[in-house]
């Protein structure tokens, strides 16, 4: 894919991913800021308040009517955590001009609406409209509280907050409940104005329009964006290995226990760690699936994830409360097997093919492309799916073993049932 990157204004970048094959176009605009306790809740709130109305379309009814006319164009407010960055903004998706039944052109009107949402909120006396601020604050508090409804998500969150306490990575993309609760309208509006002028703005377009036409549409749409003293995003420090393993347990009224384990990785060979993790628990052919689930029938899911910027691996599984020790021992045994290099050729081939497949098919999904190129811009990497494929093809067993030997147990989290407390 011939990507084009353009600097549209001070700290405003457009990544254009030209593609003719999709029925829709994607346009994403994301402000990037260092994830911090001080600002996380405010930044999580801002897109949802902005999404309530603009100067021209002052309420949700008017905004919806506008989007309906654009053949159900969607503009969703989003908040993401990418490494130790918080990205807040909007992702728009709208019909490619070929499929608009009346032959309408949709890029400029959608870009204009996106620009309005970013730059022209309904405001009065140096604050958001109180009704919008208040109800979105309530919604944010509900969203933070609702993380505990999904026990797997909640256990994963608890692991990161314990393991990375004191590191930005331990924070939630939505901010802490107490911080959200204490947020005041004037302060949130101040954070918004600061974000507007000083936070890097990453825009991603994927669709059939020429990059120059996209840039022109956006220059018009963002002509009133005030920019001054744009910040540079700080680098990310890897998670520092812990001297003694941290063990944390919670209990809830649940029928299944959730075991979450965090590991630190010393090695700088991230491709070897990525492939080592794929072998260990990154797929349905990995050691965790084959042994913890298929051989011992201890769980329905047992998988692992590699957190590249933090040099961490985390394992996630749902088990009977009584199987805690069995499951923990087996997970550790499988990690040990990877470190000893006990894997067969087919396991290596399949981990390699799986990664190659994911890079090769990335260009087939607009959402994946957007996330990849946004993450790349925010993290300051310069890889493409093609260079990652090349590195994957060149990976050797020795490098994987060397890298995985630096993986050390760091934190163990277990969510158990209430009756298991006795």
């Amino acid at each position: 894919m011939n990507t084009v990157r353009k600097n549209l204004a001070d700290g405003v970048f457009l990544t254009c991913l030209p593609a003719q094959k999709f029925k829709t176009c994607l346009l994403s605009a994301q402000f990037a800021a260092p994830l911090s306790r001080q600002n996380a809740a405010a930044y999580a709130l801002i897109p949802s308040v902005l999404r309530r109305g603009t100067a021209h379309y002052p309420d949700m009814g008017a905004l919806s009517a506008r989007l309906d006319h654009l053949y159900g164009a969607r503009i969703d407010d989003t908040v993401r955590k990418i490494g130790e960055c918080q990205c807040a903004g909007f992702v728009a998706s709208f019909l490619d001009d070929r499929f608009a039944p009346g032959g309408e052109r949709l890029l400029q009107p959608v870009a204009d609406l996106l620009g309005e949402l970013l730059c022209k909120p309904v405001a009065e006396n140096g604050a958001f409209l109180p009704a919008y601020f208040d109800s979105e604050k309530t919604n944010l508090l509900d969203a933070i509280a609702s993380i505990r409804n999904d026990k797997r998500l909640w256990a994963g969150r608890r692991l990161l907050s314990e393991m990375c306490a004191g590191e930005p990575y331990g924070l939630s993309r939505l901010g802490e409940e107490s911080d959200a609760d204490a947020l005041e309208n004037g302060a949130a509006f101040g954070a918004y104005l600061d974000m507007l002028s000083a936070a890097p703005l990453e825009i991603v377009y994927c669709g059939s329009a020429e990059p120059e036409a996209v840039a022109d549409a956006l220059r018009g749409a963002l002509s009133e964006l005030p920019r001054a003293d744009v910040r540079v995003l700080p680098g990310v420090l890897p998670h520092a290995p812990r001297a003694d393993v941290l063990r944390v347990e919670d209990s809830m009224d649940v029928t299944q226990g959730k075991l979450e384990i965090g590991f630190s990785c010393e090695s700088d060979d991230y491709m070897a760690l990525l492939m080592g993790n794929t072998l260990f628990g990154g797929s349905s052919n990995a050691k965790l699936f084959m042994n913890v689930r298929e051989k011992l029938s201890l769980c329905y899911y047992a998988s692992s994830a590699f957190h590249r910027q933090k040099k961490m691996i985390t394992v996630s599984s749902g088990i009977e409360f009584a199987d805690y020790q069995n499951a923990f021992d087996e997970i550790m045994e499988q990690l040990a097997a990877v470190r000893r290099g006990e894997f067969e050729d087919w396991e290596i081939d399949s981990a390699r093919s799986l990664l190659l497949n994911s890079y090769a098919s990335m260009g087939d999904a607009q959402g994946k492309l957007e996330n990849f190129y946004l993450s790349r811009a925010v993290a300051g990497f310069d890889e493409t799916p093609e260079t990652l494929s090349e590195k994957t093809r060149n990976m050797t067993v020795d490098r994987i073993i060397d890298a995985m030997r630096t993986v050390r147990l760091d934190t163990v989290y277990f969510l158990k049932g209430k009756e298991a407390e006795a």
Binding site: K23, S353, S361
Partner: protein
Amino acid sequence: MITRYERIGESVFRKKLANGLELRVVPRPDYARKYAFFATRYGGMDTRFCLNGQWLDTPAGIAHYLEHKMFDTEEGNALQELAKNGAEPNAFTGNAMTGYYFDSTQHFEENLRILLSFVSVPYFTKESVDKEQGIIAQEIRMIEDNPDWRIYHNMVESLYQSNAARTEIAGSVDSIREITAETLYDCHKAFYTPSNMILSVVGDVDPERVEEIAAEILPASGGPEIPRDYGREPEGVGRREFRQTMEVATPQFLAGFKCRPAAEGETWFRQALIGELASDILLGESSPLYLKLYRDGLINSTFGGDYELLPGYACFYAGGDSRDSRAVADAIIKEAARLAAGGIDPDFYERTRRTIYGSYIRSFNSFETIAVSMTEGYFHGYDPFRFPEVFESIAPEDVCAFLRENIAPERCALSEILPGETA
């Protein structure tokens, strides 16, 4: 054999093979991914059926259990075979279908052979069947702790008194203990015949090669039609309210409405679209009701509605987080009556129509959506690519009639999950 659909920019290769298998290929040049979806018309609701003249009652959860066990082969496990080629295989069991699929960028033909082979050739032993109990029991536990699933299932159980859609797809920890290798073989024999199945492929592939491979791997003949018993459903709602307490942060609700089921054929598709349009007009994000309830703080962005059809079953439902679910349910019923009596604002109707049009075209970006909607269309007798034509045949009066008939207090059941500890 190739049908072109100019308005949505698709073409479909279609063929029924000698053994009764329905084959569909949607060519997608310019894409690296190739996706194959192989499905049988057999799901969680098909527990009572007639095989060789004898009615069988099988345990709840058996279709799903069978799905898990199909990956076992005499040589080992099909998951690993596919993984060696970098394919990402998986499967799911719904109420009325079970689908097996893979996604790959390389070795497509070899992967297709593996898929067709493991799904059509069962291989279970007592040991391998017993071993799966622990895995599926944990899947069931996971579902038991999931409030979204609980609230939905409690609603279905309240609305319907005997229809088989009440059966939990995964069954219960108790019901799956009754499953044996022998029953699994019976179910496979009954439902995994080519004449009860459809193979859909999306991607840059040669349809004729797909046809050749399917003819080579699958059995030469189909099987008999299997009569199924979904129960005799009485009129009326079984239970008006269903409350469960769980460890959740905020109260959640679903207001369900028991609707008139649809006949198979294009009317099924048309009725599904009317239901979807009715949902958006009554309570979609642009609707006056949604905007008012959101403004009053009675709902938040988790609020939404849907309409679904199964054999002998139709349901319209809406819900989300709310501190006063009764007030929201009452407001939905009142607004439906207002629209049914006074008609729909023409401008609003047109806007909503446009939005659904856009969302359907958008959905054809997804290989998974294409394959699953072709499969559902085949099982229920319609062609999803005729969307623009069928959609245009719907008038505002159809939507009003739908609301008048279905969104009524006597058809409603309110399902709630409240924060707290299990009683």
